[in-house]
Point group: D2
Chain length 338, copies 4
């Protein structure tokens, strides 16, 4: 309550708390009176109280997410992705081009990343681009090429879905949905992916807090779909020397707060090919369960994200470095340890 709140205004708050089905608990300090609200506070909107003139501030004590929290599920979740698992002791490396551009580009990349040690293939068929004049992806043709590349190489495929209506189609061609950074708060899409019951990777919004990421996860989990991987992909800050700022703190913090596996996208989180290997090693050293890395046979001809795409030989070197760090962590790359 504000300093000097009248007994009547305090009573009004107590009454409102009880109307909403909670218990109130009064605590009088020297300068302020505090009203505790006891019960499962998640469904209340704190703003209802903030709009009362006599209320100074409302502070949430419980986190607003539930199913994603470690209070709810102590053991860590292991997510099936085709024939592999994310969240166990083995570190999973997913690699491939930003966009599927052509059959030859995709197959060349898929073979190269498999040979270098990748466990799964990424590639975009539907591309959200900030300019309407940029390449927007091959769409359905891209999905078919991904399915073909998966069959030929045996690597499971993850690809982005951008619209609720595309969920069935994208689900048919890929083993895991990717929900991109621009769609973290596209709740219609989250619901539809949740309802599909198929594995998904949820990328953090580039300006979303960790709490908002976990709330977005809650949209999927509350549809009883627990095959969910979270992805830190860099946040927007004042620093412009890199495309985004990799929030490396998010990795151990998510490991404390949630049972869901966490992977890192060092390509977007740095935006610069020369920094991707260092970012990948840091992610694994911080406790990530995997990486998702952009690789292109000819980055200088890529139709998107060329500046942050690795050449196959750079990627092969990254895999070797990550293997060493994974071992130093008492883990190892997927396949070697699980």
């Amino acid at each position: 309550m504000r300093a000097g709140a009248s007994p009547e205004s305090i009573d009004a708050v107590l009454k409102r708390v009880e109307e909403l089905g909670f218990r109130a608990h009064l605590s009088r300090g020297e300068e302020r009176t505090i009203v505790g609200v006891i019960g499962d506070e998640r469904p209340i909107d704190p703003e209802q109280f903030e709009s009362l003139d006599s209320v100074e501030r409302v502070v949430r004590i419980l986190q607003p997410y539930k199913l994603a929290s470690r209070d709810f599920r102590r053991e860590r979740t292991i997510v099936n992705f085709g024939n592999i698992q994310i969240g166990g002791p083995g570190i999973v490396i997913i690699a491939g081009p930003c966009s599927v551009e052509s059959r030859s580009q995709l197959l060349e990349t898929a073979h190269a990343v498999k040979e270098a040690g990748a466990h799964a293939l990424r590639g975009g068929a539907f591309k959200p681009r900030s300019s309407p004049y940029s390449f927007q992806g091959l769409g359905l043709e891209g999905l078919e090429l991904l399915a073909e590349a998966s069959e030929i190489t045996g690597l499971p495929v993850i690809t982005e879905v951008v619209s609720p209506t595309d969920v069935p189609t994208v689900g048919k061609y890929s083993a895991m949905f990717q929900i991109g950074t621009r769609n973290m708060a596209n709740y219609a899409l989250l619901h539809e992916v949740g309802r599909s019951g198929r594995p998904a990777m949820l990328k953090r919004g580039m300006s979303s807090t960790i709490q908002e990421l976990l709330m977005a996860a809650e949209y999927i989990l509350s549809n009883r779909n627990y095959d969910l991987v979270l992805c830190e992909r860099g946040i927007r800050t004042f620093e412009t020397a890199t495309r985004f700022t990799m929030d490396i703190n998010a990795v151990p913090l998510l490991n404390e707060l949630t049972h869901l596996p966490v992977v890192v996208d060092p390509s977007h989180a740095t935006g610069k090919a020369s920094l991707v290997a260092a970012g990948s090693r840091a992610a694994i050293a911080a406790g990530a369960d995997g990486l998702i890395v952009e690789v292109h046979p000819h980055p200088e001809r890529a139709l998107s994200d060329g500046a942050q795409s690795l050449r196959p030989e750079q990627f092969a070197s990254l895999v070797r470095e990550c293997r060493d760090i994974a071992r130093a962590m008492g883990r190892g790359l997927y396949g070697a340890v699980s």
Copy 2:
């Protein structure tokens, strides 16, 4: 080019520029060589060049948007919204509840804001909420109530559309689409709203730059739909004392860069009812063409955004203050001057 780039690597860049259909222009400094690329650079992805090892940095000279720029259209655009216009000399004030909660709540609010001087009615039927446990809006029933309130009061209605598939339905019940902050980069939605040919208000993403806002506008304009209003609604910064930071600089800057009208949402941009009037006056003093303000008859019972909603009498006082500022700007409220 990097310091010490070899003549071969410079030649490779020149060749690539020409392959892409541009002219190259070489400029040798004491420490660096610069390659100018001449032509309409908008469709090129600068990253293609950044991925070349010998290239240090790519700097765009032209803005990447075109149809939204004042270079393209010198005179200011006036947007029709039901029976009123946004972008002329008269300042337009749009007001109403965050969410449509019930027939009585909506009609009470609509009558109150009309009486206080509002020119149009806002209200959400489809609500994107960060928690799946919060009120999600009345959906179709909410749209029907909005249409009824519009008919009774004569105020045109704006309401949010969150999914491309809802565009025809929402368009049937309202005079203007609102594209919310979480959907500024929902390109499928932007395209569909563009194709509808109906008026729209595009809210700036809470972490989007002004350039990204103009690029998102380009998605709508490139569908030959010029009935577009931009809205500054606060950006996310390190400051937590307010819900968002109103980027007041955006108002005069957008007036320089684009011909599209600009309105401000002082409710979200401050997040605190006690700051809304000051933010509204500032917006008009900075050159905004209008406001969109949240009003609720009982903010302490609002199902969303109670803390930033004004009571009707607070809103009436805001309208009077804004009228005075509008006159000091040599403009006036809509109706009085246009």
Copy 3:
């Protein structure tokens, strides 16, 4: 406390609270136990408790500042600055060059701003510059020129002090100290300015929260120096289209939280001459008590901040616009109303 905190760990916290001389107040919810700490909490460091394993989170209820708060002093403070006052009904406009560059430049500017209606003169003699290769100010010679310009025009002078040892000298030549954005947390300097007992303007750190600004003010006030003006000068955000983002919300919020006068620096807060007038009008409409504006007779030859400096005729037009807004606010420019 964390979920599942043991009775022993709760006892340990209670004991520690009492050792520190506070009263503890226990509140048991369904999922969490909360320990209230009652007393004047300002001197406690909440981190002492956060380091206990069983403690989940510490939330401060009282604001950590005291002397700056309106709880402490209800009536607004009026600050004397030479022969004028800041914080009364009249809006004060301070103007002048970023740096004092020469006698002729300073006098030409001082005469021009006086004629245009400015109430005080600004000008930097000691310039903190991000590059050691940039112009660093004229130092003592600059102070002498400022004193001369003040004598000739009758305008009181404000100038920046950057080092505790310079406080006596700068105080001799000027009527008000300016503490710049880079020095908001230079506590040695704050103490020295506080102890001097002379009027000061404290600029908000470019990345400081409003709470941190008020804590910095507390350093000066706690030396029993209440002649203090706060200045919003733009904060650093992700937006790069403007040099800084003017935090217009800070103006009404500071007016709620503190009794100290608030001025705005629209030159730094926008960084672009073409936006300065709009920012100035917005500041006054939001409730600011004054402005501090950079003016230069030949911005294209300025040794610092040329891009954001107004020519004298642009400044004269700004003063007229601000006068109109000040009247619409029921105030007026200083001199006309006070």
Copy 4:
């Protein structure tokens, strides 16, 4: 130049460029004309040109720092710190309390960190605190205790200097100056530390870009003092779940841009003891040359930074984990490999 700039306005720019002693180079595109400025551009202030109405934008091609850049010095700098070196193959771990609180607290910590494997001791005697009501450090007595602890344990000492006038005294008692985050832009202090000729660690301002950090370094280097270590200590972002955001990208990026050694402060960069070990491993995996870590025998009784201080046994475990990561990087802890 702006679109449609007149030939006269272009001539005026060319003339001004030449007046300043540079060569101009004209490049006419379809929509814009570009004027290249050739010469050592570092000393020019780009704003001089931006204030010309016909100029749209000024883009710097050369980095504004020189002595700090790898263009200037290709081989990496190794900095002497007492009897150890930072910047060679061995990773250096510096540890100790945030503040020196008492002789027993300091000696207990110093012995513990030495036993756990630390190579140097940190501890604050002059503490910049955001509240005037918080503990401000022991001052000179703290320095004497640090010198004693150094003598007893053989560990070299680093401690913060906050005022130019303290440089001689602090230099007498410690082997390396620490310039704290709030003083990164305290140019008087940077000059004085530069002139002292003694080793220093420059912490990045919490809201400073990497370019600004390198410009601040330039203040020290331009005094011919090359014994300089840079420190990433977390930046301020919108994320509030951690105290700061560790900018892990800064580590490999600084390794590309500068020859100076880079250490990381995982205590401030996370603000939470439970995240410090993960952040430390990530820093080394990203290529850092060392760490500076806060350790306290009883964090719950620490007078500052308790929440982020490790207990000695937690620190010992961190050292073991870092040793493993350092080996995986082909390096090792200092002493084992250098």
